[in-house]
């Protein structure tokens, strides 16, 4: 924002602004378009630079290879399982905690809040956490990818402020006078009112579970338990395509070609679920980011 730019007439500003936003959007979107097109183009056309926007010499060979790859199916199945289980556990721990903390006059509430908040500022770090997981005998189990990172201070505090704002204290008092227990109030009053926060927190956690690779990499050793991201890492990052389709032995040249094609197809296959879902639940993500940014 230069000093003399204040002189720009509004019309000119709008034109320039619209144009720049358009360019930025193009830059953001282009890599996706490229990958989609490359995934159904002839690998030669892609590697020689002939294909740069729309598909050239359409072929679905890459997808065929991806779907014929057992690892992808195993990874997909595991990822779905870990994501659903992890998200369910996340909510089961998060919601009761946040609700209880949102209630007024709970003894020791200040202390418990500090207990939660402190974990945000300081952590033992990678190695001590790894040792805990190891000493609990959780290595190479489902629990090693679902329990560490189960719930964080941020989500607890955000959900707590949601409950504070959306479950009226008077309603709770009336229910208590009528003899309802706190369990009952949580189940029958608080939970039905908290659908938006359940959606927000569930989606946030679900996305991070889906995309997570590091925990699985350090805790899991059995390939049968690998989530999708670890197989993706082998294919995309360390360039190792384990050919398990069997049968036809391809020439080296042929192999290099398919390896490239598999990469594009696998990016699409693994990212598509989230990319297709998020526009429909975008408002929840936006809400979540917002509740989280409101300073108390």
């Amino acid at each position: 924002m230069g000093r003399n730019s204040h002189g720009i007439p509004d019309k000119t500003f709008d034109i320039i602004n619209n144009f720049l936003v358009f360019i930025i959007t193009l830059i953001v979107v282009y890599p996706f378009v490229f990958v989609v097109s490359a995934s159904i183009s002839d690998p030669m056309a892609v590697s020689t630079g002939k294909m740069w926007l729309w598909p050239v010499d359409i072929t679905f060979n890459g997808y065929r290879k991806v779907f014929a790859n057992d690892n992808i199916w195993i990874g997909y199945r595991n990822t779905i399982f870990y994501t659903l289980l992890g998200t369910a556990m996340h909510l089961a721990v998060l919601l009761p905690m946040s609700y209880a903390l949102s209630r007024k006059g709970v003894m020791g509430k200040k202390f418990i809040q500090w207990f939660v908040l402190f974990t945000m500022m300081f952590s033992g770090g990678l190695i001590p956490t790894y040792l805990v997981v190891k000493n609990l005998g959780m290595l190479n189990t489902v629990w090693s990818v679902t329990i560490p990172g189960l719930v964080g201070a941020w989500s607890i505090l955000v959900t707590k402020s949601f409950f504070e704002a959306n479950v009226p204290e008077e309603l709770v008092e009336v229910a208590r006078i009528d003899g309802a227990s706190d369990f009952l109030i949580f189940r029958k009053i608080a939970l039905p009112l908290s659908k938006p926060i359940i959606a927000v927190m569930g989606l946030f956690h679900g996305v991070s579970m889906w995309n997570q690779y590091f925990k699985a990499m350090i805790y899991l050793s059995d390939r049968k338990k690998y989530p999708l991201q670890l197989f993706l890492r082998e294919i995309l990052v360390i360039n190792q395509v384990t050919e398990e389709a069997g049968g036809v032995i391809e020439s080296l040249m042929e192999q290099v070609k398919t390896a490239a094609q598999i990469k594009y197809a696998v990016i699409i296959v693994s990212s598509l679920p989230l990319l297709l879902i998020y526009p429909f639940v975008q408002k929840y993500f936006v809400q979540g980011t917002l509740i989280g940014s409101i300073k108390e």
């Binding site: 979107v29 721990v93 209880a100 300081f122 990678l126 040792l131 990016i267 940014s293």
Partner: protein, 309 residues
């Protein structure tokens, strides 16, 4: 007297606890989790000061004081790791304003439909996993067949092996991160901007303020508190960088710029099994983060009245 008072306090405590016992039960799972997976590791970080033997366990392993820290600070790697970490984070901080600027630009779009479409499209990269992001980087920067090299050749330059050249690592890391977070990062600012008092804008228009002036004197001051808070939060993670991404982008050839403290912790600790030494290096990192967070927060509170606490 005192005894009586204590007794009544104890009674009160008991009463409060009994009255709300179900609420404590509701808290129990989360508290147990935090205790085991956050507080026990904090306790376990003492191995940074010990000669750790797995068979002796954390408690019985002998103390050796600051030996691991000394070894780290004196090692050949220390200077390089610190420099790389600081450069990478610092470079990221330089680009911090981009999302703010983009949010200010989006806010000025008159066509709501266009604005919504741009938002949805630019949020998309946020949902891509780190592995896929790095995979895409490798595809686009491939030597010699990637798109960037095709463009370079078309412009009459020589193809570059971006991914193995230490000179390129920081640019690749930081700009790919910006690509992923640019759109998503605008959400918070756009929300703050929607809170601008419409009367203020009308008044400014009547007084003949140009769009640029409105942005400068109304919009930017409106989002300023949000900017400060997010900036402090980012400073609080200064030493952590996006190490999961660095790890994937790293190779033997670019390590000169791509090796950062956290990847060093991973390598020495989990790959080479030097738990005690790696824990010490990790602790150094956390402590620097806390110091940065606290001091920047103090600085912000002193200078701008906006701060985290």
């Amino acid at each position: 007297m005192v005894v009586e008072q204590n007794a009544s306090k104890w009674q009160e405590f008991k009463k409060g606890f009994v009255k709300n016992w179900q609420l404590y039960v509701l808290m129990l799972p989360a508290i147990t989790y935090l205790f085991i997976f956050c507080y026990i590791p904090m306790y376990g970080v003492q191995i940074a000061f010990k000669d750790f033997y797995a068979n002796l366990g954390i408690i019985k392993s002998p103390w050796i004081g600051l030996e691991h820290f000394r070894r780290f600070f004196r090692s050949y790697y220390f200077g390089r790791l610190l420099k790389n970490t600081v450069m990478l984070s610092g470079y990221g901080l330089l680009l911090f304003p981009l999302s703010i600027i983009f949010a200010l630009m989006l806010h000025e779009l008159k066509n709501e439909k266009y604005k919504k479409t741009v938002q949805t499209l630019t949020y998309a990269p946020h949902f891509i996993s780190t592995v896929v992001l790095v995979g895409m980087i490798k595809i686009f920067l491939d030597y010699p067949d990637g798109l960037f090299n095709h463009v370079a050749v078309a412009l009459g330059r020589k193809p570059t092996s971006f991914l193995t050249d230490p000179q390129w690592f920081r640019h690749i890391y930081v700009w790919s991160g910006k690509w992923k977070s640019l759109g998503w990062g605008t959400i918070v600012y756009l929300a703050a901007l929607s809170g601008v008092n419409p009367e203020l804008i009308e008044a400014a228009k009547i007084d003949g303020a140009t769009t640029m002036q409105r942005i400068r004197y109304i919009n930017i001051p409106t989002i300023w508190p949000t900017v400060v808070v997010l900036f402090i939060l980012q400073i609080g993670n200064f030493m952590s960088v996006g190490f999961e991404k660095v790890l994937l982008l790293q190779n033997n050839l670019n390590a000169e710029t791509a090796d950062v403290i956290q990847t060093f912790v991973y390598r020495t600790g989990l790959l080479q099994g030097q738990f005690d030494f790696a824990a010490a290096v990790g602790l150094f990192d956390s402590v620097v983060n806390i110091i940065l967070l606290v001091s920047f927060n103090y600085f912000a509170r002193r200078t701008s009245e906006h701060s985290l606490w």
